[in-house]
């Protein structure tokens, strides 16, 4: 068991493991997303109130879910990096930030496009759910800006980990905003009391999309972690040997 963790914490091993994992994450991701998109767009029945406009849920909800999941991932990596002095964990956090920002952006924009025909507005300032999700985007931007503004990697890692941990409170606010305060946004569908408030033919494609996006996040993250590890380890012997070896290590 310890041997496994020890190996996991070793950069060369992690660099190779990420490459091996990528197809195992990407293929299920594409299959699930292909099914979810097709079933969500063409098989699921239209909603009794929103008609076909509700189909935006199949990209909006997975993006919104990932926007929060990626943040927690980033913050937990930061905590592990701080507590165990594990450089690799900081590299993982650094790689997760741009992905989290991308999914937060998607959640905001698809939500806005959905809001226009249904609610009657692209954006409402002062809505707790909308505002806290926008703050989440700014937290990602702040994290990335902070990282690029500090040249010393070890210092940047520490500062960013602290920022990520402080921002966790906002993820909690995003999640509970629709329960704690009145909001234009409706409440939880999937995690509501008494089971999901959704018909099965609408629900299964959504669950497939959420699972597919999670796998996709893993695959996209694996690529970014490899770049991060390669760059951070650029002066080490294993990287030199790997690059000089006949098979390389791209």
């Amino acid at each position: 068991m310890w041997k496994f963790f020890h190996q996991l914490a070793s950069p060369p091993h992690f660099y190779r493991l990420a490459a091996t994992l990528m197809p195992w994450l990407a293929v299920p991701a594409l299959l699930l997303i292909a099914y979810g998109t097709y079933a969500g767009l063409f098989l699921a029945s239209p909603d009794y109130q929103q008609g076909d406009a509700f189909r935006i849920i199949y990209v909006h909800v997975p993006s919104a879910y990932l926007s929060m999941m990626a943040y927690m991932f980033m913050a937990i990596s930061g905590a592990i990096g701080l507590i165990w002095r594990l450089k690799l964990a900081h590299a993982v956090g650094a790689a997760a930030a741009p992905l989290g920002a991308a999914f937060t952006f998607l959640a905001l924009v698809t939500g806005s496009i959905w809001g226009r025909p249904m609610w009657g507005t692209w954006w409402e300032w002062g809505d707790p759910r909308l505002t806290s999700e926008l703050i989440l985007l700014f937290l990602y931007f702040g994290y990335m800006a902070l990282r690029s503004s500090i040249d010393d990697t070890a210092k940047a890692d520490k500062a960013c980990a602290v920022l990520a941990l402080v921002g966790v409170v906002n993820v909690v606010v995003v999640h509970y905003s629709v329960e704690w305060w009145s909001s234009l946004h409706q409440g939880q569908t999937l995690m509501k009391k008494g089971g999901p408030g959704m018909d099965a033919d609408m629900l299964y494609p959504l669950l497939a999309m959420i699972l597919g996006f999670t796998f996709l996040f893993g695959a996209l993250l694996a690529r970014r972690i490899r770049t991060e590890v390669l760059y951070r380890e650029r002066r080490t012997r294993w990287v030199r040997e790997m690059i000089l070896s006949p098979e390389g290590g791209r």
């Binding site: 909006h60 991308a102 998607l106 000089l244």
Partner: protein
């Protein structure tokens, strides 16, 4: 054709799906290009050092 129209919400529905696809593909394409760039730069530097020795 009716399916594509999405009951007059076609513009909204399709733009959301298209945007999601574009953002994900573009982001991964850039990540991939960046990785190759980092690798190539290091390859050049390390091979140059090796030749000098």
């Amino acid at each position: 054709m009716d399916t594509l129209a999405m009951g007059n919400y076609g513009v909204y529905v399709w733009s959301c799906f298209a945007l999601t696809l574009i953002v994900i593909v573009f982001s991964d394409w850039r990540a991939r290009a960046h990785h190759n760039q980092v690798y190539r730069d290091m390859e050049v530097r390390i091979k140059a050092l090796e030749d000098r020795q």
